[in-house]
Amino acid sequence: MNELAEIISKNEDRIRAEWIRDMSKSVQRADLMGKAELDEQCRALLGAIVQGLKTNGPADVTTTGWNTARELLQDISASRARQGFSSVEVATFVLWLKQPMFASIREELGKNQDKLLDTIWTATELLDRLALLTTEAFLAAREELISRQQQELLELSTPVVKLWDGILALPIIGTLDSARTQVVMENLLQTVVATNSKFAIIDITGVPTVDTLVAQHLLKTITAARLMGAECIISGIRPQIAQTIVHLGINLEDVVTKANLSDAFALALLRSGRTVTRLSSAKVRPISNFLTKREE
Protein backbone atom coordinates (compact mmCIF):
# COMPACT_ATOMS: atom_id res chain seq x y z
CA MET A 1 0.00 0.00 0.00
CA ASN A 2 2.71 2.40 -0.94
CA GLU A 3 0.09 4.68 -2.32
CA LEU A 4 -0.94 5.76 1.11
CA ALA A 5 2.72 6.41 1.95
CA GLU A 6 3.11 8.49 -1.22
CA ILE A 7 -0.03 10.50 -0.53
CA ILE A 8 1.05 11.30 2.99
CA SER A 9 4.60 12.20 1.95
CA LYS A 10 3.39 14.47 -0.78
CA ASN A 11 0.96 16.32 1.46
CA GLU A 12 2.91 16.10 4.68
CA ASP A 13 3.02 19.79 5.54
CA ARG A 14 -0.63 20.38 4.82
CA ILE A 15 -1.76 17.28 6.73
CA ARG A 16 0.30 18.29 9.71
CA ALA A 17 -0.95 21.86 9.73
CA GLU A 18 -4.60 20.78 9.54
CA TRP A 19 -4.03 18.11 12.15
CA ILE A 20 -2.58 20.57 14.64
CA ARG A 21 -5.27 23.12 13.86
CA ASP A 22 -8.10 20.60 14.40
CA MET A 23 -6.53 19.38 17.62
CA SER A 24 -6.07 22.85 19.02
CA LYS A 25 -9.69 23.72 18.31
CA SER A 26 -11.08 20.98 20.50
CA VAL A 27 -8.36 19.93 22.88
CA GLN A 28 -7.05 23.06 24.57
CA ARG A 29 -4.06 22.02 26.63
CA ALA A 30 -1.74 24.90 25.91
CA ASP A 31 -1.04 24.85 29.64
CA LEU A 32 0.61 21.47 29.38
CA MET A 33 2.33 21.57 26.02
CA GLY A 34 3.90 24.32 23.94
CA LYS A 35 3.26 24.79 20.21
CA ALA A 36 6.78 24.03 19.11
CA GLU A 37 6.81 20.76 21.03
CA LEU A 38 3.48 19.70 19.56
CA ASP A 39 4.62 20.56 16.06
CA GLU A 40 7.74 18.46 16.52
CA GLN A 41 5.79 15.47 17.79
CA CYS A 42 3.39 15.58 14.84
CA ARG A 43 6.20 15.91 12.36
CA ALA A 44 8.04 12.95 13.85
CA LEU A 45 4.94 10.76 13.93
CA LEU A 46 3.98 11.44 10.34
CA GLY A 47 7.51 10.61 9.26
CA ALA A 48 7.43 7.40 11.25
CA ILE A 49 4.06 6.41 9.75
CA VAL A 50 5.40 6.91 6.24
CA GLN A 51 8.44 4.84 7.12
CA GLY A 52 6.30 2.04 8.51
CA LEU A 53 4.05 2.02 5.48
CA LYS A 54 6.96 1.92 3.08
CA THR A 55 8.81 -0.84 4.96
CA ASN A 56 6.12 -3.23 6.13
CA GLY A 57 2.77 -1.93 4.96
CA PRO A 58 -0.26 -1.03 7.07
CA ALA A 59 -1.47 -4.45 8.17
CA ASP A 60 0.79 -5.27 11.13
CA VAL A 61 2.10 -2.47 13.32
CA THR A 62 4.18 -4.86 15.41
CA THR A 63 6.66 -5.42 12.58
CA THR A 64 10.12 -3.84 12.71
CA GLY A 65 9.38 -1.13 10.15
CA TRP A 66 6.90 0.26 12.66
CA ASN A 67 9.36 0.30 15.56
CA THR A 68 10.00 4.01 15.30
CA ALA A 69 6.30 4.83 15.22
CA ARG A 70 5.55 2.54 18.16
CA GLU A 71 8.36 3.90 20.29
CA LEU A 72 7.32 7.43 19.46
CA LEU A 73 3.74 6.79 20.49
CA GLN A 74 4.84 5.08 23.69
CA ASP A 75 7.04 8.02 24.60
CA ILE A 76 4.31 10.53 23.79
CA SER A 77 1.72 8.58 25.81
CA ALA A 78 3.96 8.04 28.78
CA SER A 79 5.03 11.66 28.96
CA ARG A 80 1.43 12.87 28.59
CA ALA A 81 0.30 10.46 31.28
CA ARG A 82 2.86 11.98 33.59
CA GLN A 83 2.00 15.51 32.54
CA GLY A 84 -1.64 14.98 33.45
CA PHE A 85 -3.42 14.61 30.14
CA SER A 86 -6.54 12.45 30.21
CA SER A 87 -6.72 9.14 28.34
CA VAL A 88 -9.20 10.65 25.86
CA GLU A 89 -6.87 13.50 25.06
CA VAL A 90 -4.03 11.08 24.44
CA ALA A 91 -6.05 8.80 22.16
CA THR A 92 -7.52 11.62 20.14
CA PHE A 93 -4.01 12.85 19.38
CA VAL A 94 -3.83 10.06 16.82
CA LEU A 95 -7.48 10.04 15.81
CA TRP A 96 -7.56 13.71 14.80
CA LEU A 97 -5.17 12.72 12.04
CA LYS A 98 -7.99 11.00 10.17
CA GLN A 99 -9.76 14.07 8.80
CA PRO A 100 -6.70 15.72 7.20
CA MET A 101 -5.49 12.36 5.90
CA PHE A 102 -8.84 11.54 4.29
CA ALA A 103 -8.95 15.01 2.75
CA SER A 104 -5.61 14.44 1.05
CA ILE A 105 -6.57 10.92 -0.05
CA ARG A 106 -9.79 12.20 -1.62
CA GLU A 107 -7.89 14.90 -3.44
CA GLU A 108 -5.38 12.43 -4.93
CA LEU A 109 -7.73 9.49 -5.66
CA GLY A 110 -11.11 11.22 -6.09
CA LYS A 111 -11.56 9.95 -9.64
CA ASN A 112 -11.19 6.28 -8.74
CA GLN A 113 -14.04 5.30 -6.38
CA ASP A 114 -12.83 1.79 -5.55
CA LYS A 115 -9.30 2.88 -4.87
CA LEU A 116 -10.56 5.81 -2.83
CA LEU A 117 -12.64 3.58 -0.59
CA ASP A 118 -9.87 0.97 -0.15
CA THR A 119 -7.29 3.55 0.76
CA ILE A 120 -9.56 5.34 3.21
CA TRP A 121 -10.41 2.01 4.83
CA THR A 122 -6.74 1.12 5.13
CA ALA A 123 -5.95 4.52 6.61
CA THR A 124 -8.74 4.37 9.17
CA GLU A 125 -7.79 0.85 10.25
CA LEU A 126 -4.19 1.87 10.61
CA LEU A 127 -4.97 4.94 12.68
CA ASP A 128 -7.34 2.94 14.90
CA ARG A 129 -4.56 0.46 15.62
CA LEU A 130 -2.14 3.25 16.44
CA ALA A 131 -4.72 4.93 18.68
CA LEU A 132 -5.21 1.69 20.61
CA LEU A 133 -1.47 1.38 21.02
CA THR A 134 -1.39 4.87 22.42
CA THR A 135 -4.13 4.11 24.93
CA GLU A 136 -2.36 0.92 26.00
CA ALA A 137 0.86 2.80 26.60
CA PHE A 138 -1.01 5.50 28.51
CA LEU A 139 -2.60 2.95 30.82
CA ALA A 140 0.71 1.22 31.43
CA ALA A 141 2.33 4.50 32.40
CA ARG A 142 -0.55 5.33 34.74
CA GLU A 143 -0.35 1.94 36.40
CA GLU A 144 3.33 2.37 36.96
CA LEU A 145 2.69 5.74 38.59
CA ILE A 146 0.03 4.27 40.85
CA SER A 147 2.19 1.38 41.94
CA ARG A 148 5.03 3.76 42.70
CA GLN A 149 2.73 5.88 44.82
CA GLN A 150 1.47 2.80 46.62
CA GLN A 151 5.03 1.88 47.42
CA GLU A 152 5.72 5.34 48.82
CA LEU A 153 2.58 5.15 50.90
CA LEU A 154 3.64 1.81 52.26
CA GLU A 155 6.96 3.17 53.32
CA LEU A 156 5.45 6.22 54.94
CA SER A 157 2.89 4.26 56.91
CA THR A 158 5.35 2.19 58.92
CA PRO A 159 7.65 4.56 60.74
CA VAL A 160 10.30 3.22 63.09
CA VAL A 161 10.63 5.26 66.26
CA LYS A 162 13.55 5.36 68.66
CA LEU A 163 12.24 5.11 72.21
CA TRP A 164 15.59 5.09 73.91
CA ASP A 165 19.19 4.17 73.22
CA GLY A 166 19.04 0.76 71.70
CA ILE A 167 15.25 0.45 71.91
CA LEU A 168 13.05 0.93 68.85
CA ALA A 169 9.28 0.95 68.49
CA LEU A 170 7.38 -0.01 65.37
CA PRO A 171 3.68 0.87 65.57
CA ILE A 172 1.82 -0.90 62.80
CA ILE A 173 -1.48 0.62 61.71
CA GLY A 174 -3.64 -1.34 59.32
CA THR A 175 -3.48 -4.79 57.83
CA LEU A 176 -0.22 -6.60 57.49
CA ASP A 177 -0.07 -8.29 54.09
CA SER A 178 3.02 -9.77 52.51
CA ALA A 179 3.91 -6.64 50.53
CA ARG A 180 3.72 -4.52 53.68
CA THR A 181 5.70 -7.08 55.66
CA GLN A 182 8.57 -6.77 53.21
CA VAL A 183 8.63 -3.02 53.68
CA VAL A 184 8.29 -3.32 57.45
CA MET A 185 11.12 -5.84 57.67
CA GLU A 186 13.47 -3.83 55.52
CA ASN A 187 12.73 -0.61 57.38
CA LEU A 188 13.06 -2.18 60.80
CA LEU A 189 16.24 -4.12 60.11
CA GLN A 190 17.97 -1.16 58.48
CA THR A 191 17.08 1.02 61.45
CA VAL A 192 18.31 -1.68 63.84
CA VAL A 193 21.71 -1.57 62.16
CA ALA A 194 21.82 2.20 61.86
CA THR A 195 20.94 2.79 65.52
CA ASN A 196 22.62 -0.35 66.88
CA SER A 197 19.38 -1.20 68.69
CA LYS A 198 19.11 -4.53 70.39
CA PHE A 199 15.40 -4.23 71.09
CA ALA A 200 12.46 -3.61 68.78
CA ILE A 201 8.92 -3.34 70.07
CA ILE A 202 6.34 -4.17 67.41
CA ASP A 203 3.05 -2.70 68.49
CA ILE A 204 0.01 -4.18 66.80
CA THR A 205 -2.73 -2.16 68.51
CA GLY A 206 -3.62 -0.77 65.10
CA VAL A 207 -3.75 -4.12 63.33
CA PRO A 208 -7.44 -5.06 63.00
CA THR A 209 -7.16 -8.83 62.58
CA VAL A 210 -4.45 -11.30 63.26
CA ASP A 211 -4.95 -14.55 61.38
CA THR A 212 -2.44 -17.27 60.60
CA LEU A 213 -1.02 -15.32 57.67
CA VAL A 214 -0.49 -12.13 59.65
CA ALA A 215 1.08 -14.19 62.43
CA GLN A 216 3.42 -15.75 59.88
CA HIS A 217 4.44 -12.33 58.64
CA LEU A 218 5.12 -11.17 62.20
CA LEU A 219 7.14 -14.29 62.93
CA LYS A 220 9.22 -13.75 59.79
CA THR A 221 10.06 -10.25 60.95
CA ILE A 222 10.96 -11.46 64.43
CA THR A 223 13.14 -14.26 63.09
CA ALA A 224 14.99 -11.94 60.74
CA ALA A 225 15.67 -9.50 63.56
CA ARG A 226 16.87 -12.33 65.75
CA LEU A 227 19.27 -13.53 63.08
CA MET A 228 20.85 -10.12 63.16
CA GLY A 229 21.14 -10.06 66.93
CA ALA A 230 18.12 -7.97 67.89
CA GLU A 231 15.16 -9.05 69.98
CA CYS A 232 11.54 -8.25 69.24
CA ILE A 233 8.73 -7.78 71.70
CA ILE A 234 5.17 -7.78 70.45
CA SER A 235 2.83 -5.42 72.25
CA GLY A 236 -0.68 -4.10 71.81
CA ILE A 237 -2.42 -7.45 71.70
CA ARG A 238 -6.09 -6.77 72.21
CA PRO A 239 -8.17 -9.34 74.12
CA GLN A 240 -10.01 -10.49 70.98
CA ILE A 241 -6.69 -10.94 69.21
CA ALA A 242 -5.39 -13.04 72.09
CA GLN A 243 -8.46 -15.27 71.77
CA THR A 244 -8.06 -15.59 68.00
CA ILE A 245 -4.42 -16.54 68.39
CA VAL A 246 -5.26 -19.34 70.79
CA HIS A 247 -8.23 -20.54 68.73
CA LEU A 248 -6.15 -20.70 65.57
CA GLY A 249 -3.45 -22.58 67.40
CA ILE A 250 -0.80 -20.05 66.45
CA ASN A 251 2.40 -20.86 68.25
CA LEU A 252 3.94 -17.82 69.89
CA GLU A 253 5.99 -19.72 72.44
CA ASP A 254 9.29 -18.27 71.35
CA VAL A 255 7.94 -14.76 71.14
CA VAL A 256 7.89 -12.27 73.97
CA THR A 257 4.53 -10.55 74.12
CA LYS A 258 3.11 -7.79 76.28
CA ALA A 259 -0.39 -6.39 76.42
CA ASN A 260 0.66 -2.79 75.89
CA LEU A 261 3.55 -0.69 74.68
CA SER A 262 4.50 0.71 78.08
CA ASP A 263 4.93 -2.76 79.55
CA ALA A 264 7.03 -3.71 76.56
CA PHE A 265 9.15 -0.60 76.98
CA ALA A 266 9.68 -1.31 80.67
CA LEU A 267 10.78 -4.83 79.81
CA ALA A 268 13.20 -3.63 77.15
CA LEU A 269 14.70 -1.13 79.58
CA LEU A 270 15.14 -3.87 82.16
CA ARG A 271 16.68 -6.27 79.67
CA SER A 272 19.13 -3.62 78.56
CA GLY A 273 20.24 -3.07 82.13
CA ARG A 274 18.35 0.09 82.95
CA THR A 275 15.74 1.10 85.44
CA VAL A 276 13.47 4.07 85.95
CA THR A 277 13.63 5.67 89.38
CA ARG A 278 11.57 8.32 90.97
CA LEU A 279 13.41 11.47 92.09
CA SER A 280 12.85 12.59 95.66
CA SER A 281 10.16 15.30 95.73
CA ALA A 282 12.71 17.96 96.69
CA LYS A 283 14.38 17.50 93.36
CA VAL A 284 11.21 17.52 91.28
CA ARG A 285 10.49 20.88 89.66
CA PRO A 286 7.45 21.81 87.61
CA ILE A 287 7.96 21.71 83.87
CA SER A 288 7.33 25.45 83.59
CA ASN A 289 10.70 25.98 85.26
CA PHE A 290 12.36 24.64 82.19
CA LEU A 291 10.44 26.94 79.92
CA THR A 292 11.48 30.26 81.47
CA LYS A 293 14.87 31.48 82.60
CA ARG A 294 15.17 31.41 86.34
CA GLU A 295 18.09 31.73 88.73
CA GLU A 296 18.63 28.50 90.66
Binding site: M185, Q190, V193, K198, K220, A224, M228, G229
Partner: protein, 130 residues
Protein backbone atom coordinates in the same frame (compact mmCIF):
# COMPACT_ATOMS: atom_id res chain seq x y z
CA UNK B 1 45.95 -23.08 49.82
CA UNK B 2 43.80 -20.14 50.84
CA UNK B 3 42.04 -20.34 54.13
CA UNK B 4 40.00 -18.05 56.26
CA UNK B 5 42.25 -16.93 59.13
CA UNK B 6 41.28 -17.89 62.67
CA UNK B 7 42.72 -15.40 65.14
CA UNK B 8 43.23 -15.96 68.82
CA UNK B 9 42.42 -13.37 71.44
CA UNK B 10 42.94 -14.98 74.80
CA UNK B 11 40.18 -17.51 75.22
CA UNK B 12 38.39 -16.15 72.19
CA UNK B 13 38.62 -17.23 68.57
CA UNK B 14 37.95 -14.41 66.12
CA UNK B 15 36.96 -15.17 62.54
CA UNK B 16 36.15 -12.55 59.94
CA UNK B 17 34.64 -13.89 56.74
CA UNK B 18 35.21 -11.43 53.95
CA UNK B 19 35.43 -13.49 50.82
CA UNK B 20 32.78 -15.09 48.68
CA UNK B 21 33.38 -18.63 49.97
CA UNK B 22 33.31 -21.68 47.82
CA UNK B 23 32.26 -24.90 49.50
CA UNK B 24 35.75 -26.28 50.09
CA UNK B 25 36.78 -23.11 51.88
CA UNK B 26 33.73 -23.40 54.14
CA UNK B 27 34.55 -27.02 55.01
CA UNK B 28 38.14 -26.03 55.72
CA UNK B 29 36.96 -23.35 58.13
CA UNK B 30 34.82 -25.85 60.00
CA UNK B 31 37.87 -28.11 60.40
CA UNK B 32 40.13 -25.27 61.43
CA UNK B 33 37.78 -23.98 64.13
CA UNK B 34 37.33 -27.36 65.78
CA UNK B 35 41.07 -27.96 65.53
CA UNK B 36 41.90 -24.64 67.17
CA UNK B 37 39.40 -24.98 69.97
CA UNK B 38 41.02 -28.27 70.91
CA UNK B 39 44.52 -26.89 70.54
CA UNK B 40 44.07 -23.62 72.39
CA UNK B 41 41.26 -24.51 74.75
CA UNK B 42 39.16 -21.64 73.55
CA UNK B 43 35.82 -21.08 75.23
CA UNK B 44 34.40 -18.55 72.78
CA UNK B 45 34.11 -18.29 69.01
CA UNK B 46 33.13 -15.03 67.35
CA UNK B 47 32.31 -15.10 63.65
CA UNK B 48 32.00 -11.72 61.95
CA UNK B 49 29.86 -11.96 58.81
CA UNK B 50 29.28 -8.24 58.32
CA UNK B 51 31.00 -8.43 54.93
CA UNK B 52 29.02 -11.41 53.71
CA UNK B 53 26.47 -10.35 51.15
CA UNK B 54 25.17 -13.84 50.51
CA UNK B 55 24.42 -16.57 53.00
CA UNK B 56 22.80 -19.57 51.34
CA UNK B 57 21.69 -22.81 52.97
CA UNK B 58 25.16 -24.30 52.72
CA UNK B 59 26.83 -21.41 54.52
CA UNK B 60 23.93 -21.32 56.97
CA UNK B 61 24.46 -25.00 57.77
CA UNK B 62 28.17 -24.35 58.14
CA UNK B 63 27.49 -21.68 60.75
CA UNK B 64 25.08 -23.96 62.58
CA UNK B 65 27.62 -26.80 62.44
CA UNK B 66 30.41 -24.65 63.81
CA UNK B 67 28.15 -23.57 66.68
CA UNK B 68 27.14 -27.14 67.45
CA UNK B 69 30.64 -28.61 67.19
CA UNK B 70 32.11 -25.83 69.27
CA UNK B 71 29.53 -26.38 71.96
CA UNK B 72 30.42 -30.06 72.15
CA UNK B 73 34.02 -28.95 72.65
CA UNK B 74 33.00 -26.55 75.39
CA UNK B 75 32.96 -23.28 73.51
CA UNK B 76 30.14 -20.85 72.79
CA UNK B 77 29.73 -19.35 69.33
CA UNK B 78 28.28 -15.97 68.40
CA UNK B 79 27.67 -14.85 64.82
CA UNK B 80 27.73 -11.08 64.43
CA UNK B 81 26.96 -8.44 61.87
CA UNK B 82 24.46 -10.20 59.62
CA UNK B 83 23.29 -7.74 56.94
CA UNK B 84 19.54 -6.97 56.79
CA UNK B 85 19.13 -8.23 53.22
CA UNK B 86 20.84 -11.47 54.22
CA UNK B 87 18.60 -11.92 57.27
CA UNK B 88 15.47 -11.33 55.20
CA UNK B 89 16.62 -13.82 52.57
CA UNK B 90 17.57 -16.49 55.09
CA UNK B 91 14.15 -16.28 56.70
CA UNK B 92 12.48 -16.59 53.31
CA UNK B 93 14.70 -19.56 52.57
CA UNK B 94 13.36 -21.18 55.71
CA UNK B 95 16.51 -21.06 57.79
CA UNK B 96 16.26 -19.64 61.30
CA UNK B 97 19.57 -21.05 62.58
CA UNK B 98 18.33 -22.19 65.98
CA UNK B 99 21.22 -22.87 68.30
CA UNK B 100 23.29 -20.09 66.77
CA UNK B 101 23.57 -17.04 68.98
CA UNK B 102 23.77 -13.73 67.22
CA UNK B 103 24.71 -10.15 68.01
CA UNK B 104 24.63 -6.85 66.20
CA UNK B 105 28.34 -6.10 66.39
CA UNK B 106 31.69 -7.49 67.47
CA UNK B 107 31.43 -5.56 70.76
CA UNK B 108 27.94 -6.90 71.45
CA UNK B 109 29.18 -10.36 70.56
CA UNK B 110 32.06 -10.17 72.98
CA UNK B 111 29.73 -8.96 75.71
CA UNK B 112 27.62 -12.01 75.14
CA UNK B 113 30.59 -14.36 75.16
CA UNK B 114 32.39 -12.99 78.17
CA UNK B 115 29.14 -13.03 79.99
CA UNK B 116 28.73 -16.65 78.99
CA UNK B 117 32.39 -17.56 79.50
CA UNK B 118 32.13 -16.38 83.07
CA UNK B 119 29.75 -19.26 83.60
CA UNK B 120 32.19 -21.78 82.15
CA UNK B 121 34.58 -23.80 84.23
CA UNK B 122 37.92 -22.01 84.53
CA UNK B 123 39.39 -19.52 82.12
CA UNK B 124 41.11 -21.94 79.80
CA UNK B 125 44.47 -21.66 81.56
CA UNK B 126 44.26 -25.20 82.85
CA UNK B 127 44.36 -26.51 79.33
CA UNK B 128 47.38 -24.71 77.94
CA UNK B 129 50.01 -27.19 78.97
CA UNK B 130 50.42 -30.35 76.96
Amino acid sequence: MERIPVLRMGTLLLITIQVDMHDKLAMQLQDDVTQRISEWGSTGVLIDISSLEIVDSFIGRMLANIAAMSRVLGAETVVVGMQPAVAITLVELGMSLPGVRTALSVEAGMELLFGAAALNFGSGDERTEA
